[in-house]
């Protein structure tokens, strides 16, 4: 079972991969409150999907979890799981606790 901290680390690693290709003055902060998708987010659509892809890959390859972060379950939630690092972390935690 992944812990909240471990999931956060996976997300931060994905943010780090994005930052490696961004200018020094355009770095995405790795904090729980960092906005991922929405009006306050620094990520455009391409960067956001890249982050989701990297997080899914890490969950699958490194932890054997076949989890999709963009499916009907994400749509059916009253609050978007994509708002911030914290909401995405909590959504992944919920999925992993529920068996993916």
């Amino acid at each position: 079972m992944l812990t909240s901290d471990e999931i956060e680390t996976i997300i931060y690693t994905a943010i780090g991969a994005l930052n490696a290709e961004r200018e020094p003055n355009d770095q995405i902060p790795a904090t729980p409150t960092t906005a991922l998708f929405g009006v306050d987010a620094m990520l455009d659509s391409l960067s956001f999907v890249s982050l989701i892809t990297d997080v899914e890959a890490a969950l699958n390859v490194d932890h054997g979890l076949n989890i999709s972060l963009a499916d009907d379950r994400a749509m059916s939630r009253p609050e978007s799981p994509y708002d911030t690092v914290a909401t995405l972390r909590d959504y992944i935690l919920e999925l992993t606790e529920g068996g993916g």
């Binding site: 009006v39 306050d40 659509s45 391409l46 960067s47 892809t53």
Partner: protein, 191 residues
């Protein structure tokens, strides 16, 4: 014969409005930005851009991506539409006004509208295209939204001052319905 209703494709956040010659100045300005580094060389003047728009062949559908407010924010095309073999190529994808689409899933919904045109209206079997190998974000994006990597044309493109591979991507009709649509809907629905 390719049906040419030339109508606007309407979504929740964005619409795809047929490209017009009157869009030449705006689209030419977009083509001058750094964001077009991975597109092929375009027109060199507004007049050339207008001539290019005016000469689009029947086997293309060229669109301006507009917000619901009517503000144009980008462009997207379906080209090389082949009704005999039932395939076509999404192309010329450009968000020209990134600040205007911040927080709006404009890119995903624009592509969804184009896929709906291809698979639902034109009843194509396959979409395909190439992405420059340096364009890693676009490659990831296309794959996440359902495209499969089908091959690689080595040193096929000269972009950014050096040769790059062209990554060949393809999407079949059933992959669109089972893989692309659920992901697109999730990304569009959750903002």
């Amino acid at each position: 014969m390719i049906p040419q209703p030339a109508t606007t494709l309407r979504g929740r956040y964005v619409n795809l409005r047929p490209l017009r010659v009157a869009d030449a100045e705006l689209t030419f300005a977009w083509r001058q930005s750094e964001r077009t580094a991975f597109l092929h060389r375009g027109a060199q003047s507004v007049a050339e851009q207008a001539a290019w728009i005016g000469s689009r062949p029947d086997n293309e559908r060229n669109f301006v991506i507009e917000l619901a407010s009517g503000q144009p924010v980008g462009m997207l095309s379906l080209i090389a539409i082949d009704m005999a073999n039932r395939h076509a190529e999404p192309a010329r994808f450009l968000i020209g006004e990134p600040a205007a689409v911040r927080g709006i899933p404009a890119a995903v919904e624009a592509m969804k509208l184009l896929y709906q045109l291809a698979f639902d209206e034109l009843q194509l079997q396959r979409l395909y295209g190439t992405v420059a190998s340096d364009n890693t974000l676009m490659t990831k994006w296309q794959k996440y939204l359902g495209m499969q990597e089908e091959g690689r044309l080595r040193r096929h493109l000269f972009l950014g001052g050096h040769f790059q591979d062209a990554i060949c991507l393809g999407l079949l009709e059933h992959e669109y319905r089972t893989r692309s649509l659920p992901r697109m809907n999730a990304l569009i629905g959750q903002t």
